[in-house]
């Protein structure tokens, strides 16, 4: 029974996605095309984020700590 509720919830989420992006009005092959392109773009964005964001955060942290550097690190 709980499985059905989960399935209904995911169907509702998918339906919201269809309404928001106006895919509800598209024909099935257009919908598949749109879905594919969107998933591809999202995958590329996530991969780029995974690869580059930690490096950028580390560099930014080093840059800012250098600027305020020279202050004695507290060892207490």
């Amino acid at each position: 029974m709980d499985f059905k509720r989960v399935k209904d919830y995911f169907y509702w989420l998918y339906f919201q996605y269809l309404l928001i992006t106006c895919s509800y009005v598209l024909e099935p092959w257009e919908r598949s095309m749109f879905d594919t392109i969107l998933v591809t773009v999202l995958a590329m964005v996530l991969y780029t984020a995974y690869v580059f964001i930690p490096i950028h955060v580390r560099l930014a942290f080093e840059f800012f700590s250098q600027m305020f550097g020279g202050q004695p690190e507290s060892t207490i």
Binding site: L19, I20, Y24, V25, E27, E30, F34
Partner: protein, 552 residues
């Protein structure tokens, strides 16, 4: 403009005027009504009745997502057009012939693009054929499409007893009850159906004269003239009243019939913001100060075109302020009461009665019989001089066929019922039922959290949907629940504000309204339509004064 010696229909109007005065209980002296007044004063200040209108704006993300939706639709529209142009897809719509390919293109503008690519995908929600009287419930013919709305076929089944929330049946006079239609059937047998002539030739029947006198008496004016079609009343009579050298000040959201009439007349047209008195006043001042564009002469006539209830917004015109402005700047007022006659006012006499004003304040009263009277046609009412002029100079009177006599009888019996002349209080009961239904429906919708536009007293209820995908989903799912609604999108409304428009009727019972409201509640949660940030459930203390409605 006057034709003083006309005694067109051979009737004297003196006794009728006395009837009007006795009926309304107001004695007139110098045009100022003294004595008994209903609400407030008629010298232009706002009447004491609260004027509450809502035009809430949706949160920003809704507008963003709407445009995202339209963007996706547009991109796929270009893709499909490309495929059609290169022969990858069959062309179902109108295109030029092969020999005309090098001519100026006919179908490239945005309107045709929109129709081909966006409207066609949702087309099954409009033009649904019905096969019964459009009362509170009706029957629909079921139709399906095999090729995504390019063609339809009927399955042969009828969907029975669909609750009708789309017809303009405000007082419930669209009925098939044999008892109620007795006189109409009798007139049908006596006169037949066709008149076969225009008003000025052989088409003025005694039924028309009777109807015109009744309309004048109902509205409290000197005379009236009726026409066969409401749209034609506006578009064919405004050119008779104004011409070149006149100025028309027209509301932003006026109906197409008013716009068409204004353009046909050849007068200069200026638009003021919807129901915005500051905009109207500044236009009037500019008109009086600067006169006509190049010659700087005074305008021959300045006429203000407004509607009683605007059908897409559900807002009511600010009549007392407009009348004050018109008196101050000496302009004329043309009031189109298509949706408000019969639907607002304590006894159903329209916005003039709603604000407690004198019908003499409005120069030209126009209305239609299509909405509240269950018939077809329109009227123009006002001073006798005006109506006599229209009888001789209107295009509709000269060229258009006059109203069918059994339709005229339907209006006569509906109007007599409203005025109480048939000996019952049924008319007044209908008006009060409509008022109750309207207030109940609007209050519940506001409580549920939907964004609803318009005045609290208007029976036209637009519920905002915003996103193009939701238009189709809403209409289809409501039909599955056996409720018929009208959804409207671009170009009838601004592009980001598509809506579903409900028309409350006096014939709807409380159970029908509750069914519809429960379905709306469910669908509102499913489609996420409850955008309002000011729902009454959140702020009950701010809305106490509107809670005093008559309970059963």
């Amino acid at each position: 403009m006057a034709n003083p010696s006309a005694v067109c229909n051979g009737h004297l109007h003196h006794h009728q005027k006395q009837n009007n005065l006795l009926k309304s209980g107001i004695s007139k002296k110098n045009g100022i009504a003294k004595g008994i007044k209903k609400n407030g004063v008629s010298n232009g200040s706002l009447s004491k009745k609260a004027f509450i209108e809502h035009f809430e704006q949706a949160p920003m993300y809704v507008a963003v997502l709407t445009f995202v939706g339209f963007g996706v639709g547009t991109i796929f529209g270009y893709l499909r057009d490309f495929m059609r142009a290169w022969g990858l897809e069959k062309r179902n719509i109108a295109t030029e012939r092969e020999q005309q390919k090098d001519f100026v293109p006919l179908y490239q503008d945005f309107e045709n693009f929109y129709t081909r690519n966006l409207y066609m995908r949702l087309r099954d929600n409009w033009n649904r054929p019905i096969c019964s009287v459009p009362g509170p419930q009706f029957d629909l013919m079921e139709r399906v499409t095999d090729d995504y709305n390019w063609t339809f076929r009927f399955t042969g089944r009828t969907i029975k007893n669909v609750i009708n929330m789309g017809s303009y049946n405000y007082l419930g006079f669209a009925e098939t009850d044999a008892n109620a239609l007795k006189t109409v059937a009798k007139e049908l047998q006596k006169y037949g159906t066709g008149v076969c002539s225009s008003r000025q030739e052989m088409g003025t029947l005694d039924k028309h004269v009777e109807l015109e006198q009744l309309v004048a008496r109902f509205l409290g004016v000197e005379a009236a003239m009726v026409f066969g079609m409401g749209f034609a009343t506006n578009s064919m009579n405004i050119p008779a009243l104004v011409g070149k050298g006149c100025l028309i000040l027209s509301d932003e959201l006026n109906h197409t019939s008013l716009v068409l009439g204004a353009r046909l007349s050849g007068a200069t047209i200026r638009i003021f913001k919807h129901n915005n008195m500051q905009s109207l006043e500044s236009l009037l001042r500019d008109a009086i100060i600067y006169g006509q564009p190049r010659s700087r002469r005074a305008w021959r006539k300045i006429i203000i075109l407004v509607e009683g209830i605007y059908s897409m917004e559900g807002s009511i015109v600010r009549l007392p302020e407009i009348v004050a402005l018109k008196r101050k700047y000496k302009a004329y007022l043309y009031l189109d009461e298509a949706h408000s006659i019969g639907a607002v006012g304590a006894t159903g006499r329209g916005v003039v009665e709603y604000f407690g004003m004198n019908p003499d304040d409005v120069d030209v009263l126009m209305g239609t019989f299509t909405k509240s009277f269950g018939a077809a046609g329109g009227y123009i009412a006002g001073k006798k001089d005006l109506v006599d002029f229209i009888r001789t100079h209107s295009h509709s009177a000269v060229y258009a066929t006059s109203m069918c006599p059994s339709v005229a009888e339907q209006i006569i019996r509906a109007m007599k019922c409203l005025m109480g002349l048939d000996g019952t209080t049924q008319g007044l009961q209908r008006v009060q039922k409509l008022g109750k239904n309207t207030r109940y429906f609007r209050r519940r919708l506001h409580e549920m959290g939907f964004i609803v536009y318009g005045n609290d007293d208007s029976p036209v209820v637009p519920l905002l949907l915003y996103m193009p995908g939701k238009i189709g989903a809403f209409s289809r799912r409501m039909l599955e629940k056996n409720i018929g609604v009208v959804v409207v999108g671009f170009p009838a409304t601004p592009i980001a504000e598509s809506r579903a428009r409900f028309c409350v009727s006096a014939a709807h019972t409380r159970e029908m309204l509750d069914t519809v409201l429960n379905a709306l509640d469910e669908l509102g949660d499913f489609l996420q339509l409850k955008y309002s940030r000011y729902s009454k459930a959140a702020h009950p203390e701010l809305y106490e004064e509107t809670r005093c409605e008559l309970e059963d």
